[in-house]
């Protein structure tokens, strides 16, 4: 074996061992604790469960408080799908016109986009506005909030990607008699697919996993999201010594983002590298 190959193997092996300890052990801990009985889980030890109770625990979590977790799942999925759809369509429209049309407003618009990315939202005044609109404590209100707070990031990605689409295409479509709306929705939007996939996956994971916004803008059990129920569950199950159920809950709500990642893994990296992340 050459020196290079030896180094490849030693460095690789060390990296794998370190990654197992640092990254896989916490995940394995979630899984084995979720499969234990309550007394066994309460010892907090990292050990193989004496009895494999994973399905019982998941069933118990789902049945807790009249299936509040199932309702929370439905809420979270509606929230995620609706807000991501709004974000993608509106941000693509802005990113496209912002890149294509040179006008004296561009500087100001770019400034507001960046401000939206950097400035922390003012919480209580936002509640005050939502209350004025009659949207406080409604799922619809939270959908609009998530969409608004995600817009800036999406616009930046779309603007960068639109610059890779040749303008000649727009001109050709125009000659063929397409109006601006058809041009955008039928020609440009399909071409944005790589970055749309990236935006959908990144934002869907972010919205589904979001805790602070539902906490502020959608309090109450009636329409809780999965992160809120997990948080509420943490205090009730820790006091009741049911860590196994808590971890079954964590495991359960990690599945949707994980599935998304497994399906779109390649596209995320492709979308990021194809000009989406550049300064």
């Amino acid at each position: 074996m050459s020196r290079l190959a030896v180094r490849r193997w030693t460095v690789g092996t060390i990296a794998i061992v370190v990654s197992v300890v640092v990254f896989l052990v916490p995940f394995a801990f979630i899984l084995v604790t979720a499969a234990k009985t309550a007394p066994e889980a309460s010892t907090l030890s990292f050990s193989w469960p004496a009895e494999w109770k994973l399905w019982d625990n998941i069933a118990a979590v789902l049945a807790d408080r009249d299936g509040i977790l199932i309702r929370a799942f439905v809420n979270s999925i509606v929230l995620t799908v609706a807000s991501v759809v709004i974000m993608v369509v509106l941000a693509a429209m802005v990113g496209y016109v912002l890149q294509r049309k040179k006008s004296r407003w561009n500087g100001i618009i770019n400034f507001f986009v960046l401000a939206g990315l950097i400035v922390p939202p003012a919480v209580v005044p936002t509640i005050w506005v939502l209350q004025g609109l009659g949207l406080f404590k409604t799922l619809g209100g939270l959908i609009l909030i998530e969409a608004t707070f995600g817009l800036s990031f999406c616009i930046l990605l779309f603007r960068a990607f639109v610059s890779t689409i040749p303008r000649e295409l727009d001109e050709a479509a125009l000659i063929d008699g397409a109006g601006p709306i058809r041009l955008f929705f039928q020609i440009v939007l399909p071409l944005l697919k790589p970055v749309i996939v990236t935006v959908i996956v990144v934002q869907a994971v972010a919205v589904f996993n979001d805790f602070a916004n539902p906490l502020y803008f959608l309090p109450g059990d009636a329409n809780a999201t999965v992160q809120l129920t997990l948080y509420a569950y943490a205090s009730s199950s820790t006091s009741a010594g049911q860590l196994n159920l808590l971890f079954a809950d964590i495991l359960l709500i990690t599945i949707p983002p994980l599935v998304m990642y497994v399906f779109f893994n390649r596209q995320i990296v492709a979308g990021m590298t194809s000009g989406a992340i550049k300064g």
């Binding site: 990296a15 922390p120 608004t148």
Partner: protein, 313 residues
């Protein structure tokens, strides 16, 4: 642009409507292809749910406020914020937290990305496994590590005791709590930093590395003179994103310590929530304004510096 368009369009199209000079007409049509009303739906959301609350926060931070009742009290909220040691400490904690997390994300993310773009066994596995924590919700990560870091029965201190080390009370020691949470934040966010750095390193033309190899440069020299300077835009992105995230961090701190023990891991964002919960809406909004000022004051010089460097290189 109007010029090119006039050249592309065949004469019969150009002359369809007589009288209008072709270039102007084409120019006008090109402009209207990108309708300004495409801005309107996004702008409406932005103005109503983001800009208005932000501007309103400057006024409400000067009031005693119950959502229904507004009572103007001037700068009292800010005076209280900075004179109350429990509140003003949060200010310092926020900066410490942001610096620790973004510093470590830059160093470790770059190191990992260099490792993961070199030829290495198990590269695909390593890329996937560093990204996994990104997918778990912050609350889930926080609750998991709260159990792992338990001072008596936790797995981390259990592992340390095998080596004869008495592990500290990671989350119960006031001197350590903030740093422990910051380390968990790094664990969770490292995957994103690494991904951005991988994208940056992959974009560097291979010729540079080949030339360096021909010249017999050492691995360290290649890193020092090629990889690091040419992945500067990626560094900028990582620093900016992790600083914004670090300064605004709330979920993880709330899930792991709730700002405790005492107020030793309170940050501005958790103070905002505590004051909101207690019904002090004016004081909570003042916290928001403080956070706004901190974020702006930190981000503007840093983004100017990063942009200048990337133009130079």
């Amino acid at each position: 642009m109007a010029q090119t368009f006039a050249n592309v369009v065949p004469p019969q199209v150009r002359n369809r409507r007589r009288g209008a000079p072709p270039a102007t007409r084409a120019g006008r049509k090109m402009r209207s292809m990108y309708p300004s009303w495409f801005y309107i739906p996004a702008a409406a959301l932005y103005v109503v749910l983001f800009a208005v609350p932000t501007f309103a926060s400057f006024y409400f931070s000067l009031t005693r406020w119950s959502l229904f009742d507004v009572h103007f009290i001037g700068l009292d909220n800010f005076v209280q914020f900075f004179s109350d040691p429990q509140l003003s400490q949060a200010f310092l904690h926020t900066l410490v937290y942001a610096v620790i997390t973004s510093g470590l994300k830059v160093v470790l993310g770059l190191a990992l990305a260099v490792l993961l773009t070199s030829s290495l066994i198990g590269r695909g596995y390593l890329r996937a496994v560093t990204f996994f924590p990104v997918l778990v919700s912050t609350i889930g990560v926080g609750l998991t590590f709260k159990v792992l870091l338990d001072p008596f029965d936790g797995v981390v201190n259990g592992a340390l005791s095998v080596f004869g080390i008495q592990g500290p009370g990671w989350l119960t020691d006031p001197n350590l709590a903030l740093i422990s949470v910051a380390l968990v934040d790094v664990w969770k966010g490292l995957g994103i930093a690494t991904l951005i750095y991988i994208a940056g390193i992959v974009a560097i033309p291979q010729e540079y590395f080949e030339a360096a190899r021909v010249d017999g440069a050492s691995a360290w020299k290649v890193f020092r003179n090629i990889t690091f300077p040419l992945s500067w835009p990626a560094t900028g992105t990582v620093v900016i994103l992790s600083l914004i995230g670090g300064l605004r961090s709330f979920d993880l701190i709330w899930a792991m310590t709730k700002g405790g023990p005492g107020f030793s891991s309170d940050v501005i964002a958790s103070v905002i929530y505590k004051q909101y919960q207690a019904g002090f809406y004016g004081l909570s909004t003042a916290g928001n304004v403080v956070l706004f000022v901190v974020v702006t004051a930190v981000m503007i010089p840093i983004s100017i510096f990063i942009n200048k460097r990337s133009v130079d290189s």
